[in-house]
């Protein structure tokens, strides 16, 4: 195991740091060597990228905190305008070398002001002789701000003429950041994904005190065996581990098995975990519901979950409007005559089915249709006479606001609007069943 070493920092702090960041030794030692000693100049900007939960934020934060380097940590999602971002940096900078009383926030509208105030703040806090780190988390948000913000942060060291390093953390690669007019390229660092061994090591680290470490490690092993295929996200796995542990311990608590009885424990937990993948992992059932279920000893999966609630109560004509819209969206126009005209004469099935059409319309998604076609199909499928009252038309627009239909090309509201139907087949079949309409018979794809 490579030990972290750096002449500038006390060995005890480094040892402590090493304990805090498992499986990230090489990245941390790389960062340490880039940072150098306090008074030394570091890179003007460092760009760190890696997957979700590969420890970018955590490593950066622990590193800066443990070594007590002066730093400013800002999340760019919270500071969604440049003004908020710049003011936040200045505010944090004021409280950086603590001891001083909180001063009133300074208004800072432009980057020009920021550079001036930043230099003032550095001098007044006595931070000139050591490197100040500005960490911008979720740096991809910087691209949404004014065009000058990102390039200016990349060369902040040059602009302020002071010892400052800007660290950008992001999940996307640097190529997608680079402005068209060019900029100062930062040093890019990659945080690789945790392997299964790393995950095992990290997850087994904080085992509950009432059980032994081996017992918990075995549990983590089973958990990873089930979930590693679909999920490598450390946060998600940790959450699942916390949720399902009580179920794993159940046989031990009840005395049916002891801690060494791995096979029995595995038999007990494995189907439970598989169920969890379909429910909790997809957030069908909320975590608290799942815990309550485990606590009460109920059968997992007996709750309906979020996605099963696809039943919507609609008025009679709205149902038919929705059915008509669905038919208009998924049937080709040339088949309308065959489906909806009562006495359409002879249309041979061979002519009517095109041979070369292989892909089903359901795979290609809904197609837009004009309002006239919707109304024509509506009149055809409703047996009674439908008067085109204001009610019918207002129901169409309210279906749009309910997002069951969507309007295509917002150009003209009154003159020939075009719609798309945005509901699924299961939903429309359920609706059709309530009005005794056999929708499958009218769908071209199922002929």
């Amino acid at each position: 195991m490579p030990n972290l070493e750096h002449p500038a920092y006390p060995a005890a702090a480094l040892l402590h740091l090493e304990g805090l960041v498992p499986c990230r030794e090489s990245q941390v030692s790389m960062l340490l060597s880039i940072f150098g000693e306090r008074q030394q100049f570091s890179f003007p900007s460092i760009f760190i990228y890696g997957h979700t939960s590969s420890g970018k934020t955590y490593v950066m934060q622990t590193l800066l905190k443990t070594l007590q380097l002066p730093h400013v940590f800002v999340n760019c999602v919270e500071c969604f305008t440049s003004r908020l971002l710049l003011e936040e940096i200045l505010i944090q900078l004021q409280s950086c070398s603590c001891e001083t009383e909180p001063t009133s926030p300074v208004p800072c509208d432009t980057f020009n002001d920021f550079v001036r105030l930043f230099k003032q703040a550095l001098v007044s806090r006595g931070l000139q002789d050591q490197t100040l780190y500005i960490v911008l988390d979720r740096a991809e948000q910087l691209r949404e701000m004014e065009a000058n913000i990102l390039p200016a942060f990349l060369r902040l060291q040059e602009l302020t003429d002071s010892n400052v390093t800007v660290v950008l953390l992001s999940e996307i690669v640097w190529e997608l950041f680079r402005p068209n007019v060019g900029c100062f390229d930062p040093l890019t660092l990659y945080f690789p994904d945790y392997s299964i061994g790393h995950l095992q090591k990290i997850l087994s680290q904080n085992h509950p005190p009432e059980y032994t470490a081996d017992f918990y490690a075995a549990y983590i092993n089973i958990l990873l065996g089930v979930f590693y295929m679909v999920c490598r996200d450390l946060k998600e796995l940790r959450h699942l581990a916390a949720l399902n542990f009580s179920k794993y311990c159940e046989p031990v608590v009840r005395g049916e098995a002891n801690e060494r009885d791995t096979r029995k424990l595995w038999k007990n937990i494995e189907p439970h975990l598989k169920k969890a993948m379909q429910t909790v992992y997809l957030r069908e059932i909320s975590s608290s519901q799942w815990e309550r279920l485990q606590h009460d000893g109920g059968e997992p999966g007996q709750l309906k979950g979020l996605s099963a609630h696809t039943h919507v109560e609609l008025p009679y004509y709205s149902k038919f409007l929705l059915i008509a819209a669905y038919l208009a969206s998924y049937n080709p126009v040339r088949t309308d005559k065959r489906f909806f005209l009562k006495h359409h004469g002879k249309i041979k099935k061979t002519n009517f089915m095109k041979k070369h059409e292989k892909t089903s319309n359901h795979l290609l998604g809904p197609k837009p249709f004009p309002l006239d076609r919707l109304l024509a199909i509506l009149y055809s499928i409703v047996d009674k006479r439908v008067a085109p009252t204001a009610n019918i038309f207002s129901q169409i627009t309210s279906l749009v606001t309910l997002q069951l239909l969507s309007m295509v090309g917002q150009n003209d509201q009154l003159e020939g609007p075009r719609y798309k139907c945005t509901v699924s087949l299961d939903f429309i079949r359920a609706v059709a069943r309530t009005v005794n309409f056999d929708i499958i018979k009218y769908l071209y794809d199922f002929l």
Binding site: R143, V173, W174, E175, L176, F177, R178, P179, N180, V181, G182, D185
Partner: protein, 425 residues
Amino acid sequence: TPRNATPEIPRRSHAAQKPASVLEEARLRLHVSAVPESLPCREEEFQDIYNFVESKLIDGTGGCMYISGVPGTGKTATVHEVIRCLQQAAENDELPPFQLVEINGMKLTDPHQAYVQILELLTGQKVTATHAAVLLAKLFNTPGPKRKTTVLIVDELDLLWTRKQNVMYNLFDWPTQKHSKLIILAIANTMDLPERIMMNRVASRLGLTRMAFQPYTYKQLQHIISSRLKDVKAFEEDAIQLVSRKQYIPRAGGMTARVVIMHSDKMSGFSSVWHNVAALSGDARRCLDICRRATEICEFAEPKRSPEIVGMAHVTEAIDEMFSSPYINAIRNASLHEQIFLKAILAEFRRAGVEEATVQQVYHQHMALCRIEGMQRPTVSEMMAICSRLGASRLLLLEASNKYLHMRVRLNLSQDDVMYALREE
């Protein structure tokens, strides 16, 4: 600070140096800001404008004149000279006295600020734009017993354009009022500006008194330079002629200019080559700039030689510096992979027959070229870096970088120029 302080810039600590050599003297005289007492080759225009203003002054009426011409043809200088002569005449009591107001569209932050400026120059009041408009309208529309005539020079007229054109309308409407006694000299670049951007009622108020400044011919440019260097012997006669003739360069990328120059090196007599190139741009400012640059080159080239005189070679170098396109040099000095990338773009254009390609397509060509040359192939990230570097130096025209491999690439110069730059080793 005192309440009504006049703005001033800090004085320099040492006195300005007197020109030591002939070349420095020449440089001082050739400076664009050193406008001579009387403008050579603009006598006719001077007379026309003078007569116009003089007649209006004597009659005590108002009127407008529109002066147009491409940049560097002496419009503003001529107008200023006219005003200077008129002021002299007014001092000698040959003409009735008048008031001069000058605004420049480029110096105004907003077209409506024109009112504020005019009012301040006329009366010294400082008010808001809307209020100033009201005050000015009152001033010009009501008869004043002993009002002096006002001459208003409006430079860069096209920048006073607003959507409703009320600034222009007011400016040209005041002279038509009976008591206004306002003479407006409007200066702009395009000859057909009134027809193109003004509404009919504005254009008709501007009237038909117009004057177009033709670009200088090479003879005139030559005359201008020699008149500035009257008794300073710093330039060879041929060199001045070359500068004035070379004013016009066909603007078809760098190569054309370069090829022409290379040809000219081979020929013995310059004048015969340049005879074909008409002096079309006729910009006196650029002419003066080239001359000044040539004096600098001369000074640096031979510091020892005592009788310093700017020769043909210096002028050629200065012209080359000013007109040759930097693109070709940029391509020649680009890194190996950047050059291969440009070759790949050319190959892709030839393959597809369209002058636009995605980075992905160029990438395949690049890989193939690397394979042929036996070079190590760059990764996609390196490739994007190459591409955006070329785009940042404007050799390529790129879309926003967030499209990644689907970003479309176009050349910012002609394919021939790229080939020409890449071929020569």
